[in-house]
């Protein structure tokens, strides 16, 4: 493979990684540049490896152009929080920073089970990293061509199993981190050290982003098929014994490019728990060496697998790791969402899952979510868990504190019994105004869209039912619409590609139904289909299964051949 790559022109990102001096670039010089709020040339890309994206307020981009002002450049920071666990002291620190030093004032929980700051101006960036460091958080490798934040099912009930799985998520994250000291040098004023080597990621890092999860069935909250590498926890008598390993999921595609498609992960087999890091390392190393470095749109693990074949890839991993995959152990996914409300764990502790619409923690009129979280953090003795569904769990509450926390959560609108099932099963990525990739609204559009879909369900007499509905502003997949029953993918202002036919548990990719349509087209379509579903469905049949059975869309079985057919 590597022989073949040499004959093709490498993508420019390969050059910039190679020339970056292990991700240092000239970021420090850019920080001194007072003439622009942005980063220049390669640094614009390199800061991603340090967990930041350069963005701007797109709502006022045109206005500022007329004002002869550059776009309102700022960065979005995505923290590295394996398994999404954050303690109350950390919460108070990030809450203070969000309040005082970000343009939007929010803490945004994301589908990568972490939080994002939106709107940090250049003069505040170093201070932000130092604040995070002071409470034991960093943002290394949460973006860029590396292994990103490792997800882990937030199962609070089986606390021991969760603890083991969470520890593996953390170990995998640490094991696959870049070894360069660039982050500490640039942001934390760490001592300068000589050029490092990158034994796992390689000096050119990975061909493309790489995502890993640890999942505890039966809840597929992390959406394994959206990830390159998944460890499915297999337990015996409540003890973790090993993992089934799923490789090659990924949802990103490019509009108009049929060589790109969302793809489910393939099952490589079972490994005992002691081989976890070796397998993780070598799935990464094979993808590092075999991934396409000349065409970034064909660089992810899923395309490597489709190019070389699952067997060839798996055998190479086995040979490098010195471990044979065993036959997969049986497991079943039955759910994907978070159980909103209180549950009691087997350890007797209580856990409160809060539904946070689009993960945006901010004070709204009559719904002071951010203040509520802050007040809870001040008295909470357990931890917080950010979920892959953009919700927040207040975990590990002793019985005697349950009522105090519930009271705060209700006072600040964090518990709101009026949330419908449809609301809880709808999701949006960030999109406008901050995300530079967004082609259409998503987060800001979701509330009104959900209300309309609720209206349709009510109209057809199934108000308590719901459809897994996900909206994304572009086809890159942050909101995982390509595993939804109804997925809307932003195409242009007010225009979406409408996909139908995913399932409840996230094991099927939905098929394109209507291309580039606005609400006045897709809502009547939904109206009609929901009406048919309400009357024609089999017992317990979900909307996604119905549309396939009714022949409204073809099932996508093998993405490479079926998705664009």
């Amino acid at each position: 493979m590597s022989e073949q790559d040499k004959t093709v022109k490498l993508s420019d990102n390969e050059r910039l990684k190679r020339e970056s001096n292990f991700l240092r670039g000239t970021i420090e010089a850019d920080l001194q540049d007072e003439i622009t709020g942005g980063f220049t040339a390669d640094n614009f890309q390199l800061i991603r490896f340090h967990g930041m994206y350069q963005q701007d307020d797109r709502d006022i981009r045109g206005e500022r152009a007329k004002q002869k002002l550059e776009p309102l450049h700022n960065v979005m920071l995505r923290a590295r929080m394996p398994g999404g666990i954050i303690n109350p002291d950390q919460w108070l620190a990030i809450d203070k920073f969000a309040e005082e030093k970000t343009m939007y004032g929010s803490i945004r929980l994301t589908t990568r089970q972490t939080f994002q700051f939106h709107g940090v101006l250049k003069p505040n960036i170093k201070g932000m990293h130092q604040m995070l460091d002071s409470v034991g958080i960093d943002s290394i490798a949460t973006a860029g061509d590396v292994n990103r934040n490792v997800l882990c099912t937030t199962n609070p009930i089986e606390s021991e199993l969760h603890q083991e799985a969470y520890e593996w998520a953390t170990k995998i994250s640490e094991h696959l981190l870049p070894r360069t000291r660039a982050y500490a040098e640039i942001w934390l004023d760490g001592e300068k050290s000589e050029t490092t080597e990158e034994p796992i990621l390689g000096s050119n890092y990975l061909p493309r982003k790489f995502k890993t999860t640890v999942v505890i069935p039966p809840n597929n909250d992390v959406d394994v098929h959206a990830n390159d590498l998944n460890f499915i926890a297999i337990s015996e008598n409540g003890k973790l014994v090993g993992f089934n390993v799923l490789v090659g999921g990924g949802l990103a595609m490019t509009h108009g490019d049929t060589a790109t498609y969302p793809r489910k992960a393939d099952d490589f087999g079972f490994i005992p728990v002691e081989h976890t890091l070796a397998i993780a390392e070598h799935v990464v190393s094979v993808q590092r060496d075999w991934g396409n470095r000349s065409n970034r749109k064909n660089a992810k693990t899923k395309y490597t697998l489709d190019r070389v074949g699952v067997n060839a890839f798996r055998e190479e991993v086995e040979s490098r790791a010195g471990v044979k995959f065993e036959t997969s152990r049986p497991y079943e996914f039955t759910t994907r969402g978070d159980n909103i409300g209180w549950v009691e764990g087997i350890d007797g502790k209580h856990h409160l899952a809060l539904f946070i619409q689009s993960g945006r923690i901010l004070d709204y009129p009559g719904k002071t979510l951010k203040t509520g979280c802050r007040e809870i953090a001040k008295i909470h003795q357990g931890d917080f868990r950010m979920t892959a569904n953009q919700n927040l769990i207040i975990a590990g509450v002793p019985t005697e504190q349950k009522s105090a926390i519930e009271k705060l959560a209700r006072e600040h609108g964090l518990i709101d019994d009026s949330h419908s099932n449809q609301q809880k099963n709808s999701m949006a990525c960030v999109a406008l105004p901050t995300c530079p990739l967004a082609m259409a609204e998503s987060e800001r559009y979701l509330p009104s869209l959900v209300e309309k879909v609720e209206g349709l369900l009510t109209k057809h007499g199934i108000a308590d039912d719901n459809i897994i509905l996900r909206v994304i502003g572009c086809p890159n997949g942050c909101g995982r619409a390509m595993l939804a029953e109804v997925g809307l993918v932003g195409k242009g202002p007010g225009k979406y590609n409408m996909h139908l036919g995913g399932n409840r548990i996230g094991t099927r990719v939905p098929k394109l139904y209507k291309e580039n349509v606005s609400e006045d087209i897709f809502l009547p379509e939904l109206d009609n289909l929901i009406g048919r579903w309400a009357t024609e469905r089999n017992e317990g049949e979900c909307f996604g299964d119905f549309v396939i059975r009714a022949g409204i869309v073809q099932e996508v079985k093998i993405s490479k051949t079926d998705f664009h057919s």
Binding site: E34, I35, T36, G37, I60, E63, R64, A65, K66, Q67, K68, L69, E70, L72, L121, P123
Partner: protein
Amino acid sequence: MLLGQLSSAASPLSAEQVQKLQGLVAELNPIQQAWVSGYLAANANTAVLGSATPSAQAGEAATLTILFGSQTGNAKGVANQLKAQAEARGLTVKLVNMADYKPNALKKEKFITVVVSTYGEGEPPEDAENLHEFLYSKKAPKLAGVKVAVLGLGDSSYEFFCKTAQDFEQRFTELGAQSIFARADLDVDYEDEATTWVNGALDAFEPDLKAQQGNSAQVITMPGIATSTSQYNKQNPFAAELSLVQKITGRDSTKDVRHVEISLEGSDLTYTAGDSLGVYFLNDEVLVDETLSLLSIDAATEITLGDKTISVRQALIENLELTQSYPAFVEKFAAATNNVELVKIAEDKASLREFIEPRQIFDIIRQHPAKLEAQALVDCLRKLQARLYSIASSQSEVEEEVHLTIGLVEFETFGSEHFGGCSGYLAKRAEEGASVKVFVEHNDNFRLPTDTNTPVLMVGPGTGIAPFRAFLQEREASEAQGENWLFFGNPHFTQDFLYQVELQGYLKSGVLSKLDVAFSRDQADKVYVQDKLRKNGAEVYAWLEKGAHFYVCGDANRMAKDVHQALLDIVQQFGGKSEEDAQAYLKDLRNQNRYQKDVY
């Protein structure tokens, strides 16, 4: 006046020629008169007098020296008028900018007229600084036998109105000179009174000068005048189209700064980077109507203004000052309305000053309504003065356009929103496409170096960036090889970085070699342009040493002084000089026209 008195009997001209001449002169503005007089004299010299140039000795003895110290060009204009009138009387005059005048020459003078303005807190204009200082120094010569007349220009809305003129007169008389014509302190609407004063002063000088001079008139050429071919000027402004008014501060800025583009198409008006544009504006109709109603004046009432008869409403909108308050208004309005309270305030200078400070003329009327005749109101008010703005464009780039950078003056007081007269008009009331009366005010004291290889240091915080935008356009168009270094400052980087994108472009293309910015309120400790200068002290000094020109534009009261102090410190520190030597170093820069200011 003189021409008016002229008769064919007292001159070599026929009655018909006298009439024609009188007719012609009446049509000419002072600059045109000056040009004609120079032309005629030169013509006469070559055609008739030939080599009959008077000896230097004779000339000096009978020469009227006109010294002017001008900041905005008004004093210079009056000095030119004085010269033209003097020459029309056949007098020999020497017109000199104080900045170019060697103080030692004072002792050779016999007849001196001073036309000088005052700016800021009673300070001499920059051009007058040296001479002013010299007169107060021990080196000042005795001036017994010297005859002098002083004319002051100023703005009575400032506390130290015409102070520099008063200083000059006082020092001249203290040194022994005789003031032969009473000093006049003229306000912003100085034109008519200036003409009266010029004629009065010349009447006073003429007998002595004539007695010593005999018949030979000497003409000294006047550089820098009559370069413009346009018929439009301050008295006859061009009705230009306002083509663009664009806010260039961000939506969250505490400042409202507008980039204004005006079309000069069809005017033949030309300008040079460094010049200013005079803009006449219209007062707010809403406030005008309110004023009329407060004073129970019918809007249609006709009033007399100079030789025009127009409606009082039109006069208030177009011709009279209603925003910037000044002492004389309060005095006249108090008297006209018999308002005891106002009369009392006007009696005490200090309280009058305090009273005026926060109030526009509108406010004074609103707070003291009375029944007043339309004409009486008009007689209380002075003529609306054009506002001058440093031009923010170069014609080599924008051709027949002129660009301005205007900070909207806005403040809340007495329960209502207030706007500056002209900035309020341009930013808030005038619509794009409106006709705005403008003229070009040349400013030879703010010019790029003639040698395009000379490096240029520019300090222009806030709207002070305007002329430097013009400079950069000019330097780019002329493919100047000299380096350019700009210092800019304002409160916030994200909101107030005026012309940010253009400046980034200049950095990228290399037109700007360096750009240093100070955003005072982006961090706990305020940072200003002078701090950035100091931070770059070594390099600033190196630039000065390699011949750079240093320009400052913007706030006179604080910024320009702080920048001057920073420069002094830099020269001391990096030039290893004593404070005195550093002062001399900067003075020398100024004398070489390498340190120029456009401050207000």
